[in-house]
Amino acid sequence: MVAHTTSTKNISVTIRVWRQAGPGQPGKFVDYPAKDLNPNMSFLEMLDVINDELERKGEDPIAFAHDCREGICGTCSLVINGKPHGPNRAIASCQTYMRSFSDGETIIVEPYRANPFPVMKDLITDRSAFDKIQQAGGFISVRTGAACDANATPIPKETADLAMDAAQCIGCGACVAACKNASAMLFVSAKVSQLGLLPQGQPERDTRVLNMVAKMDELGFGSCTNQYECSAACPKLISHDFIARMNRDYLAASFRSAFKGKPAVNSGGGA
C-alpha cells in the first residue's frame, strides 16, 4: 500500500505552444508531446522537462517567464487553454499542477494577448507599462529617515486589513490579459486604494489617482466596462470593489483639481 500522494497515475498530454522568435515577428503554434507525467508535477516543471529535451537536441527552448514558482513574484504569465493563469481560481500559472489536466488532453499555451504588453519571445511579454504607472504616482513621498514613530498614528484594524487586501496584488497583469479592453483598472485601483485608505497616503491622494490614471490611459490600456473578468482571473482575488473606490476617488480628485485651477501633473514627470 502506498501511504502518500493521492493521484498516482501518470498522464500524457500534448502541449500546443505559441512560438514567436521576437517582438513584432510572426508566430505560430507548435505541438510538443509530454509523456508519462507525474500529476504532482507543476505546469512549469512540465515545460522544464520539454525544454531539457529541446536543449538536448540543440533546439531553442520555449521561452517563458517565471521566478519564485510559488505565486508571489508575479513573473509567470501563461494563458492556458484560453485562461490567464490556467483553469484554477486564485492561483498563478506556477501554482498549476498537472493533476488539473486529463490524460490525452491537448493543452493550449499562449502569451498574454494585450496591446500594452507586446510579446518579446514565445510566452514572454513586456509588462514594463505597469512600472511606468507606478512611477507616475504609486507611492507616498517620504524621504528616508523623515518618518515619525510607527505607532504615532493608529490605524483601525479593518482599514489596515482592507489596505492589505488591495496591497496583495502581484503585478502579474492577468487582469489586463483577461479583459477584452485590456484595461488595467484592477491593477491601478489596487495600488490607489491601498495608499488612499491609509492616513499616510492622504496628502497625495488626489494627485496619485489623477496621475496614475492619466499614465494608464497614455500607455494604451483600455477602459473598464464592468465585466469583471479581471478579478475572476486575478491570482490574488483582488476585488473589483476597488475599481469602484478608485472611480469615486478619481471623480472627487478631478473636481477638486478643477477648482484649484491647476493641472494635476506629477512634478516628477513621466517615466
Binding site: M1, A3, R56, Q135, A147, A150, D161, A167
Partner: protein
C-alpha cells in the same frame, strides 16, 4: 594577500555607530550630483539604497536582471521583520536583539555590526509605515507583533504571510518615485556579468541586456551590489529559480574576498521533494511549529503505514524528547539536523523516506478545527495545492531545505569590500548573521543596509575621490572586461555538447547536498572537491546551449549562472573542509558533543575566513579576520 581592515570604530558598543557617523567624511551637498553610483539589484537592499542615495542627490543607475524591480526574490519572504521596538512591553531592547542575533549566529558575527543592525531596526519600521506598508494591527489600531523563530519576545512585525512582498513593494514605491522624477536611471532585464576595476578601484560593470543580447559598459564612481544569496548552488532550495551568484562571484574573481561561503541555512519546514522533475522547494512558515508536533515512527517498519494507523506509543516526537524546553520550537539548524538524523536512521516518511510528520491532530483537538483554520488556513491551502493532501485529516510531511546563505562578499564596517569603491548589501554580503541567521532578520538587514547604513558610509569613500574623475566606459579596462564576458558567453554557446544546463545543475545540487549540506565530514568534502572539478570540465565540454547570444536566450542565462555556481560550490566545500569545527549552519560530524550539538572551537576558528581568488586553476587564499568579542562572552549555545 588582501588587506582586511574591518574599520570597527573604537569606543563603547552602543556609541560606535553614532560616533562613526559623526567622524566619517561627508560629501558636500553641491557635489553629490557629480558622483554616479551604480546599484546592482533592487531587492530590499538594492531598492532601498537606490531610492535613498537618489534622495541625497547622487546620480543613481540601478540594474536588475528581473523584468521589474518588484520581482526581486525578497518578495517571497513570508514570516516577518524584526525590530527592537518593544511595543509589546515584554522586555525587548536594542541590546536584547543584539544579543539574540549574536548568540543565534553562534558567535561568528562582528559585535559592532550586529549592534548597529539592532539600533537601526527601529527606524525601519517607522520608514515602512510611513510608506504605506500595511503591517498587521491590533484592534486598537496599533501595530501587532508576534514571536518568531524561537525568540522569547514578540518583536516581529508582519503583513499576513507576505511580509517580504509588502516591504519590497514599499521600497519599490520609493524607488519608483525617484525613477519617475528622473533621479534614478533604471535598467531592467539587465544582468551584470562583470565588475570593472580601474587602478584597483571598482569603477563600473559590464551588462548584458537579456532581451536584445546587447553587451554594454557602464562607468561610475562606486558600485553597490545587492544581488542576494547563492542558495541555488544546491539546485533545489526555497529560492526563486532565477536567484544566482553571478554578480558576487565575478566580483570575487576580480579580487573581492568571499567570506564564510560554507555558512548556509537549512530551513526545517519545507515541503519534501516529490520527484526528480522538481524545480524548487516551498517553504512552509515556521509559525506552524507553534502548534504542530513533529514526529516519525519509532520503528522503521511503520514508515510505510498510514500515519493514522501508527498508535501513539509507536511515535517518536523527537524534538520534544531531545529538547524538552524548546521542543518543536528548537532553532532552525537544530531542528533540521534532528530531522536528518531520524531520516538517516531509516525512519523518514513519504517518497524516498525523506520527510517527517508535522501533526496538527492535537492542536485540532485542543483548539478545534476552526481555530486552526483561522491561524494557518492559508498554509494548509498551499500544502494542499502542492501535495494534494488534506493536512486537517493527515499530518503534513516536511523536510529541511536550503533557505539562506550567511556567507557572502567580505565587507568592512562601512559595507565596503576589500576592493575600494565596491559596496555589498543584504544577503550578498556576509556581515551580520554569523554562522546562522535568526528568523525575520534578513529583511531587517537588507533594509538596514540600504536605507540607513550605506547612504552614510558611501560618503566616506566618495569624499576621497575627485568629482569628475570617473573613468570613461571606453577606457581599456572596460573594453577588456567586455571582451572577457563575450569570450565566456561564446565558449558556452560553442560547446554544443549533449546535455541541457539543468542536467548539470541537478548533478551539482546532489554533490552539494550530499557532501556540503546539513552535515559535513572531512571525507565527504574531500570527495566533493574531487567531483566538482570533474563536473566543471564535463559541463564546459558537454553542455548544449542552443541559439545565439544576441537574442533573448534563457538557456544562455542559465548556463552562465551555473558555470559560476559550480565554481562557488567548490569554494564552499573548501571553506567547510578547512573550518574544523561546527558552528550554526555549518555542522561537521567530527565536531559535536555526545548529544549531537555543535562543538565550536573559538580558539582556532573564532574568525572570519575570507577567501581570495588567486587565478584560474590556483587554490584560493584563505585570509583571516579575527573576531574580537569585547562585550559578550562566547558561550555554548544551548537550547535544551
Amino acid at each position: 594577500m588582501a588587506q582586511l581592515n574591518s574599520r570597527i570604530p573604537s569606543g563603547p558598543l552602543a556609541d560606535k555607530w553614532r560616533k562613526h557617523k559623526t567622524e566619517i567624511k561627508l560629501v558636500n551637498p553641491a557635489n553629490k550630483r557629480k558622483y554616479k553610483v551604480i546599484v546592482v539589484g533592487a531587492g530590499l537592499a538594492g531598492a532601498s539604497a537606490s531610492a535613498t542615495l537618489a534622495e541625497l542627490g547622487y546620480q543613481v543607475e540601478t540594474f536588475v536582471f528581473h523584468d521589474s524591480p518588484r520581482r526581486a526574490h525578497s518578495i517571497a519572504a513570508q514570516g516577518g521583520v524584526n525590530a527592537a521596538k518593544n511595543y509589546q512591553n515584554d522586555g525587548d531592547s536594542v541590546h536584547r536583539l543584539f544579543y539574540d542575533t549574536i548568540k543565534g549566529g553562534d558567535y561568528r558575527a562582528r559585535e559592532a555590526n550586529v549592534h548597529r543592525l539592532a539600533e537601526v531596526s527601529v527606524n525601519i519600521i517607522d520608514q515602512c509605515v510611513a510608506q504605506g506598508v500595511p503591517f498587521a494591527r491590533e484592534y486598537g489600531g496599533l501595530l501587532a507583533n508576534r514571536s518568531f523563530g524561537g525568540a522569547q519576545v514578540s518583536r516581529t512585525f508582519y503583513a499576513r504571510g507576505q511580509t517580504g512582498q509588502q516591504l519590497l513593494l514599499g521600497a519599490y514605491s520609493a524607488l519608483s518615485k525617484m525613477v519617475g522624477a528622473g533621479a534614478v536611471k533604471l535598467h531592467v532585464n539587465a544582468e551584470m556579468l562583470d565588475l570593472v576595476l580601474v587602478d584597483g578601484q571598482a569603477k563600473g560593470i559590464i551588462v548584458r541586456d537579456l532581451v536584445t543580447g546587447a553587451i554594454t559598459r557602464h562607468a561610475a564612481d562606486a558600485v553597490i551590489l545587492g544581488t542576494g544569496g547563492y542558495g541555488n548552488v544546491f539546485n533545489l532550495s526555497t529560492y526563486a529559480r532565477g536567484s544566482n551568484a553571478t554578480a558576487i562571484w565575478r566580483a570575487y574573481k576580480r579580487g573581492a574576498c568571499f567570506a564564510n561561503p560554507c555558512y548556509t541555512q537549512i530551513h526545517p519546514t519545507c515541503i519534501p521533494v516529490s520527484g526528480d522533475y522538481q524545480s524548487k522547494l516551498t517553504l512552509m512558515s515556521e509559525s506552524l511549529r507553534n502548534d504542530g508536533r513533529i514526529w516519525v515512527p519509532k520503528k522503521k517498519e511503520d514508515c510505510e503505514k498510514l500515519a493514522a494507523d501508527i498508535p501513539e506509543e509507536d511515535r517518536d516526537y523527537y524534538l520534544e524528547r531531545l529538547y524538552p524546553s524548546f521542543g518543536n520550537l528548537a532553532p532552525r539548524d537544530v531542528s533540521s539536523r534532528a530531522a536528518k538524523r531520524v531520516c538517516d536512521e531509516g525512519r523518514g516518511v513519504g517518497p524516498g523516506k525523506l520527510g517527517v510528520y508535522l501533526d496538527f491532530a492535537d492542536a485540532i483537538k485542543r483548539l478545534g478545527e476552526p481555530a486552526v483554520r483561522e491561524r494557518y488556513g492559508n498554509l494548509f491551502d498551499i500544502y494542499h495545492e502542492i501535495t494534494n493532501e488534506n493536512a486537517y485529516k493527515t499530518p503534513m510531511r516536511i523536510y529541511p531545505a536550503v533557505h539562506y546563505t550567511m556567507g557572502g562578499l567580505w565587507v568592512d564596517y562601512n559595507l565596503m569590500s576589500n576592493i575600494p569603491g565596491l559596496f555589498v548589501l543584504g544577503e550578498a554580503n556576509f556581515s551580520d548573521h554569523g554562522a546562522n541567521r535568526l528568523g525575520a532578520s534578513a529583511l531587517m538587514q537588507g533594509l538596514a543596509d540600504g536605507y540607513f547604513v550605506v547612504p552614510y558610509t558611501i560618503g566616506d569613500y566618495l569624499a576621497g575621490i575627485k568629482p569628475g574623475s570617473r573613468p570613461s566606459p571606453d577606457a581599456a579596462e572596460f573594453k577588456a572586461a567586455e571582451q572577457h564576458v563575450r569570450d565566456l558567453n561564446n565558449r558556452l554557446l560553442n560547446a554544443k555538447g549533449k546535455e541541457p544546463v539543468n542536467y548539470y545543475h541537478k548533478k551539482l545540487g546532489k554533490i552539494m547536498w550530499d557532501y556540503c549540506g546539513m552535515a559535513r565530514t572531512k571525507e565527504g568534502l574531500e570527495k566533493a572537491l574531487v567531483e566538482l572539478p570533474k563536473l566543471r570540465e564535463e559541463f564546459w565540454a558537454g553542455v548544449n546551449v542552443p541559439g545565439s547570444g544576441d537574442t533573448l536566450n534563457q538557456a544562455l542565462e542559465r548556463a552562465g549562472r551555473l558555470a559560476d555556481f559550480i565554481e562557488l560550490g567548490e569554494l564552499m566545500c573548501r571553506d567547510a573542509l578547512t573550518r574544523e569545527e561546527s558552528c550554526g549552519g555549518h555542522f561537521r560530524e567530527e565536531y559535536q558533543y555526545p548529544d549531537g550539538e555543535c562543538k565550536r572551537d573559538d580558539e582556532n576558528f573564532g574568525h572570519v575566513a575570507a577567501w581570495e581568488f588567486q587565478g584560474e586553476g590556483k587554490p584560493p587564499l584563505r585570509n583571516v579576520e579575527p573576531l574580537n568579542y569585547e562585550f559578550t562572552k562566547m558561550s555554548v549555545r544551548s537550547y535544551k
